[in-house]
């Protein structure tokens, strides 16, 4: 009997859940962003905060009257990093007329590339997806809108160079998760090692990286000048813990954008002092935009998540990306105020963003039909035991090497569709 | 095209004046020629159906005929046939006809010592037995009477090793026949043409309620005209699917299955065994179905028992729709108009309940369904008609090929047996006896001038039934003229009538009502073991045997209610006052009922005399000593204490 009731309830739920979408789709003056993200599987460490930031910012925009009288609706759902579910979400978004989809997952983004290019829906691959998507000529509808991993690696190398003056003869260890994502910076690093004369030693660890105990003794034994650790989620905290246990110098340890305050808490905030990371935007609550959100969204209790997460690194990433997307909408209206709202329409807007700073949250970002990365700027920050403190201003570095690599792959994609 | 068909193509077959085949053999020949590819017979064997086209049927029959001829079957001779329905048996029966001989089917459950009675006419030298059981019986008969000399058997299991003389398998017979046919090119033509319309097609015996069974010879012309009359009346159609499950010795099976099947080019489906008949019925789904009222009752009981056991939803649906169907049918029969709502409801019921039940029974295609021989309970009748099966009663005797009258769709009324069929004349004698005249009626009993003289008067058949004609011509049959009895106060009644009405209750299987010359009426009741057993199980009443169950007080009350219900419509002097539940069912083996399940009143009155006396005394208990015959032939005495109960009015 129970079983039957359960099945009935499920079926009813399934039917009911289809309804609101159909109703909402009927409203006009709405711009639909589809944000199926991975809340459950691999990207759990970031998605909640990232999504919170995005939603809070969009709430702010909508509270302020939307863009050009249009409300922005974000369809947030969970794809669990599972492709059938992601494709379902994508196709649903397509059917509902979403102009943009932000899956925040490398495998999902990669799988959606052919569809997005065909359907002309803007696929946002911030901090995920293919690095070569920075080339807008090859991937017109795939928009990273953020420094890709090649750029992040290049920024770090340049930072090391700034610190040490010259990297010639130095040894840099690259500890990475053994997935395409972890392996991605390798060509850039190898090229830079060649150029600048440092020795690159790489250490892959098995995903998800909860056990790296055999890696770090080797890293220590290699006696590196700098260590880059490239992973996500539990791999990052494990890496940090092992690094500490092996007595590595925290201030010569750096990661990509994927390390945050909560990782530090897990490992022990004190012990992590000195760890470096790449920041694509300002962190903390100081930026004007975050203050605005706190005042207008969080305080009236309209926030999408717990108040204490506001201003964390990943939260700010979310705000950053949402702000760029909304800027794209703004530009689209500037270019074509009456144009039917479509993926193509938004694409034009997104690809004409220039010198956008999101009230000081992000470096001045310019997106062109050629450059989908937005200039490849970031800054390096270190953990001071309580928060990330910037060591540099926003800068970009080694973009020539990065772009050489980008073109290499994007040309190949254009040619063979690989 | 097989050899037989080629033959008839060349020579034709004996025909009547109107062009119809004159004999069954001729009809088979016609079928083989005109409908050679049509399936004539189908028999279930080890789970699958073996089929014979009419052309093959003819060939089979001719081979068998030649075979029978080889073993000495002579024109004018009878051939005893005993066994359940088998295609080979049917073929053999027609094969005998082809030789100018005739089959004489005997009920397979006739005991050995009664068997002689069925071999009195036609000097049956040859007998056809279905299986070992019947062969054994015939060997016993032969040991005593010297006949039959030759026993042909169909199922060789167990018989193959017998060393008795004159045992031939049908297989062997067929081989012999096919050799004969091969050696004599003209044989086929000869066999097809040998029999004439006046030859006897089958020799049946009367039920023998009183005295020895009479021999009733149905001739080809009787059979053919009877069937054609029925067709004219719309009762039979061409190309029916028939189900051959009734006892071959009953006129119903012979006429409705074999006769009509051959003459009207039907497909005759033979079930695997009697036990699987219900199951096989479903596989056949006949378009025409004949069953005795009892069988219809059983079917109803089956459905009701099944429904009582069903899931709540299904039961509720059944309980919702069926009473409506019955009520609707009642109104339809009364000629009242049916509203849209009822029609819609009926349609839904057809999908939800009636259709599945008909499908379950195997009657979903049964356009024409008949019952006869006895009166039918209104409940049963309305139930099946309510389901959408156009069940009709027919009236007829063995002497009339069972085809005298039948209900006509559109004016079906339960108490009548319908109108005379085309070609049949009905007259009511002054004493109320029904008289019939028709080409399907025989002229005389076999070798029995006395009985013939009594029964056949001026070309009319005295049926012995009391009845009357209604204004539209519908015939009402009241009962046997001889059965009318009077109470001490002079009230006329026919016990059978009341008994039938009591028996309509599914809980009662048999009942005998007494009262002739008495002050009031009493009854001996035999419960239906299955129905009451199920009823008891549902009430957690434990029982171990029929005898024990029958004496449970609850069961006593149950039967009391049934009788009280019947009493409601009985005139005051004819109400049943007291009854007793018998510890056993009436049994044909004990001579209490006939093979056709008719009560042998005299036997019962004699055997249960102490019980009847007790019913008319004031006692509440009676000790009955039953003498029983064990299977080994020894006798014993069984003492039973039975409770005499009053009917609460």
């Amino acid at each position: 009997m129970k079983r039957r009731e359960f099945l009935t309830a499920t079926a009813a739920a399934a039917v009911l859940s289809q309804m609101p979408i159909r109703i909402a789709a009927a409203q006009d003056k709405v711009i639909r962003f589809s944000m199926p993200q991975d809340f459950t599987k691999v990207y759990t460490f970031v998605t909640a905060e990232y999504s919170q930031g995005q939603r809070d910012y969009l709430t702010l925009v909508n509270l302020q009257g939307g863009i050009n009288g249009h409300q922005i609706v974000a369809d947030v759902s969970d794809h669990g990093n599972d492709l059938p579910r992601a494709i379902e979400a994508y196709e649903r978004a397509k059917s509902e007329g979403a102009v943009l989809i932000d899956p925040l997952s490398t495998p999902v983004a990669r799988a959606l590339v052919p569809r997005a290019l065909e359907d002309k829906i803007n696929l946002i691959t911030a901090f995920s997806g293919r690095s070569d998507a920075a080339d807008g000529t090859a991937f017109p509808y795939v928009l990273p809108l953020s420094p890709n991993y090649w750029t992040q690696a290049a920024l770090l190398i340049d930072f090391f160079r700034q610190k040490d003056g010259d990297l010639n003869g130095k040894k840099i260890c690259y500890v990475h998760i053994d997935t395409p994502f972890g392996k991605e910076p390798l060509p850039i690093l190898q090229k830079l090692a060649e150029q600048q004369g440092f020795e690159l030693v790489t250490f892959p660890y098995t995903p998800p990286g909860n056990d790296q105990s055999a890696i770090w003794p080797q890293v220590r034994r290699a006696r590196p000048d700098w260590v880059m650790f490239w992973g996500a989620g539990v791999g990052q905290t494990t890496a940090l813990t092992e690094a500490i246990r092996n007595g590595l110098d925290m201030s010569r340890l750096s990661s990509s954008v994927w390390i945050s305050e909560s990782d530090m808490e897990v490992v022990g905030a004190e012990q992590c002092t000195g760890v470096l990371k790449v920041e694509p935007c300002v962190s903390g609550r100081e930026p004007e935009l975050i203050q605005e959100i706190l005042k207008e969204v969080v305080e009236p209790d309209k926030g999408a998540g717990p108040e204490d997460k506001v201003g964390t690194a990943y939260y700010n990433y979310g705000v950053m990306l949402a702000a760029i997307m909304v800027e794209g909408v703004r530009k689209a209206f500037e270019k074509d105020p009456d144009g039917p709202i479509s993926g193509e329409w938004l694409n034009a807007g997104l690809r004409s963003i220039s010198d956008f700073t999101a009230e000081g949250l992000i470096p001045a970002t310019t997106i062109t039909p050629e450059d989908h990365q937005g200039g490849g700027q970031g800054r390096i920050a270190h953990w001071d035991g309580a928060k990330f403190v910037p060591d540099t201003d926003f800068f970009s570095a080694n973009q020539d090497v990065v772009w050489e690599e980008v073109r290499k792959y994007s040309e190949e994609f254009k040619k063979t569709g690989k | 095209m097989n050899a037989a068909v080629k033959t008839i193509k060349a020579t034709g077959w004996p025909v009547r004046d109107d062009g119809a085949p004159a004999t069954l053999v001729a009809a088979v020949a016609r079928n083989a020629f005109e409908h050679g590819e049509r399936i004539g017979f189908r028999e279930r064997e080890h789970g699958i159906w073996r089929e014979w086209t009419w052309a093959q049927v003819l060939e089979e029959i001719l081979q068998l005929a030649a075979g029978f001829e080889a073993v000495g079957l002579m024109p004018g001779q009878a051939m005893t046939v005993v066994g359940d329905n088998r295609a080979a048996i049917y073929f053999s029966m027609v094969a005998a006809n082809a030789l100018g001989a005739f089959p004489s089917p005997v009920f397979p459950d006739v005991p050995v010592d009664e068997f002689d009675a069925y071999m009195r006419f036609g000097e049956p030298r040859i007998a056809l037995a279905e299986d070992q059981e019947q062969v054994d019986k015939l060997l016993d008969v032969r040991a005593r009477t010297g006949r039959p000399e030759i026993i042909v058997y169909d199922d060789p299991r167990g018989v193959a090793a017998y060393e008795a003389e004159g045992l031939v398998s049908v297989e062997r017979l067929r081989d012999m026949g096919s050799q004969q046919l091969a050696s004599d090119p003209g044989k086929r033509t000869a066999l097809i043409g040998r029999a004439g319309g006046d030859d006897i097609a089958v020799l049946l015996y009367s039920s023998g309620t009183t005295g020895k069974p009479k021999g009733i010879p149905l001739r080809h012309r009787n059979v053919v005209s009877g069937v054609l009359n029925a067709e004219k009346g719309g009762y039979f159609r061409l190309h029916e699917e028939l189900f051959a499950y009734l006892p071959t010795a009953w006129v119903g099976d012979y006429i409705f299955t074999l006769g009509a099947g051959i003459v009207l080019v039907a497909t005759i489906n033979v079930p695997e065994r009697q036990e699987t008949a219900l199951h096989d019925l479903r596989e056949v789904a006949p378009t025409f179905y004949l069953a005795a009222p009892r069988a219809w009752d059983n079917m109803l009981t089956r459905v009701q028992v099944g429904m009582a056991d069903s899931t709540p939803l299904k039961r509720r649906l059944f309980d919702f729709f069926l009473p409506r169907a019955v009520e609707l049918e009642r109104r339809r029969l009364a000629g009242k108009s049916i509203g849209i709502k009822d029609r819609v409801l009926d349609g839904i019921g057809q999908v939800l309940v009636y259709g599945p039940i008909k499908d379950f029974l195997g009657l979903s295609r049964a356009k024409r369904a008949f019952t006869g021989g006895e009166a039918m309970g209104e409940d049963t009748f309305l139930f099946f008609r309510g389901l959408g099966i156009q069940l009709k009663q027919f009236y007829g005797q063995t002497e009339t090929c069972a085809l005298s009258a039948a209900q006509v769709e559109g004016s079906v009324r339960l108490h009548t047996v319908g109108r005379a069929m085309p070609g049949v004349a009905v007259r009511i004698a002054d004493d109320g006896e029904i008289l019939l005249k028709s080409p399907s009626i025989i002229e005389a009993y076999l070798d029995d001038p006395d009985a013939t003289a009594k029964t056949f008067v001026d070309g009319w058949l005295r049926t012995g039934d009391a009845g009357y004609l209604e204004s539209e011509g519908d015939l009402v049959v009241l009962g046997r003229v001889s059965e009318v009895v009077h109470t001490a106060a002079g009230e006329r009644f026919i016990p059978n009538f009341i008994e039938n009405r009591i028996k309509f209750a599914s809980f009662v299987r048999n009942v005998a009502v007494f009262g002739a010359g008495r002050d009031d009426l009493t009854a001996i009741v035999c419960i239906d073991y299955e129905a009451v057993g199920h009823w008891a199980e549902r009430r957690a009443i434990t029982y171990g045997s029929y005898a024990e169950l029958s004496q449970k007080p609850e069961v006593g009350d149950l039967v009391g209610e049934v009788i009280a219900h019947v009493n409601e419509t009985q005139p005051e002097p004819l109400k049943i006052r007291r009854y007793v539940n018998l510890f056993k069912d009436f049994d044909a083996d004990d001579g209490e009922i006939t093979r056709t399940r008719k009560l042998r009143r005299s036997v019962i009155e004699d055997r249960y005399a102490p019980l009847i006396e007790a019913l008319y005394s004031a006692s509440e208990k009676v000790v009955y000593e039953a003498s029983i015959t064990y299977e080994d032939g020894t006798h014993g005495v069984l003492t039973r204490e039975l409770e005499i109960r009053k009917v609460l009015v």
């Binding site: 250490f203 892959p204 055999a214 003794p217 034994r221 539990v234 246990r245 092996n246 897990v266 | -």
Partner: protein, 295 residues
């Protein structure tokens, strides 16, 4: 090849292996008594870790109270699992039982992060993070302590198997119906085995949680534990110790020796390769009784 590195990897590998072995011991315990391979053992370890964290972080107990609480709770949960899930599967094909434990594993992986949050939890059991050197050989304190505790627990388990209850459980594992017929409460013995197995899983979950933080990835211990259990022989507790050391060493050395050569994470494949090789060459493992039905 740097010999010191090798020594360091070897020592760390041994201790890591012992920590894996603790999870494997739970699998062996259940297999010994009921013939079921518990694929939810990794999830039970995760659950233990979560519970220990919850008792200390959410209810504020000191960690040395929270851990015993978690152990007790997990013992109960283990017996309940047996009582209400596994016992109903008696007589079902082995594939069904395996799938049941797999289903449990998936479910637990949803339930715990679902209710406690999916972010990595910090479980501090007081092991100082500072590096620890003997000469130039670095010893990871967390694994050192974790491995030692595991070793201790497995030894206790082995010892326990020689106690009265242990003998009962051995009887059950030898022949359930025979044990039943001499008056042993087979169901109770199996339930206790589950409880103890859950306790071991909890201990492993706490130790691993202290090493890497508590999150769903603790359930990934399963594959290593399976490799150890199979290599050691599914019904041999001492085998688990030896196999644990072997697997730990093999993994650790594979990382140090093979990875630079093939340029990839061979570590995880080590467990798989060990499973396959064991099954192909010596299906009953190093110390297991040879009763596998061969074709």
């Amino acid at each position: 090849m740097d010999m010191l590195l090798l020594a360091e990897l070897a020592i760390n590998g041994v201790f890591i292996g012992l920590m894996y072995a603790l999870v494997a011991a739970g699998i062996v315990l259940i297999y010994k008594t009921s013939g079921i391979a518990n694929l939810a053992q990794g999830a039970l370890a995760m659950m233990g870790g979560y519970l220990a964290w919850a008792f200390s972080a959410l209810t504020g107990f000191p960690i040395w109270i929270a851990i015993p609480l978690a152990l007790v709770a997990m013992f109960l949960i283990g017996t309940l699992l047996e009582r209400f899930a596994l016992r109903r599967m008696v007589g079902q094909p082995i594939i069904m039982v395996i799938m049941l434990t797999l289903g449990l594993e998936i479910m637990l992986r949803g339930v715990l992060p679902g209710f406690f949050g999916s972010a990595v939890k910090r479980l501090d059991i007081g092991i100082p993070p500072t590096p620890f050197f003997i000469g130039d050989i670095f010893l990871n304190k967390a694994t050192l302590i974790g491995g030692s505790v595991s070793l201790l627990l497995i030894l206790v388990a082995i010892y326990f198997f020689n106690s009265r209850l242990g003998i009962i459980m051995r009887a059950v594992s030898d022949d359930q119906s025979a044990a039943w017929s001499v008056g042993i409460k087979v169901e109770r013995a199996i339930a206790i085995a589950w409880g103890l197995s859950a306790v071991m899983a909890t201990a492993a979950g706490v130790l691993w949680g202290a090493t890497q933080g508590v999150d769903w990835s603790l359930s990934l211990l399963l594959i290593k534990a399976l490799a150890i259990a199979i290599l050691g022989g599914l019904d041999s507790l001492p085998g688990v110790l030896i196999a644990g050391v072997i697997v730990g060493l093999a993994e650790s050395l594979a990382t140090g020796v093979l990875d630079p050569i093939v340029g990839g994470g061979t570590r995880d494949v080590v467990a798989s390769v060990i499973i396959v090789l064991t099954l192909l060459l010596r299906p009953h493992g190093l110390f297991g009784r040879e009763h596998i039905e061969r074709v």
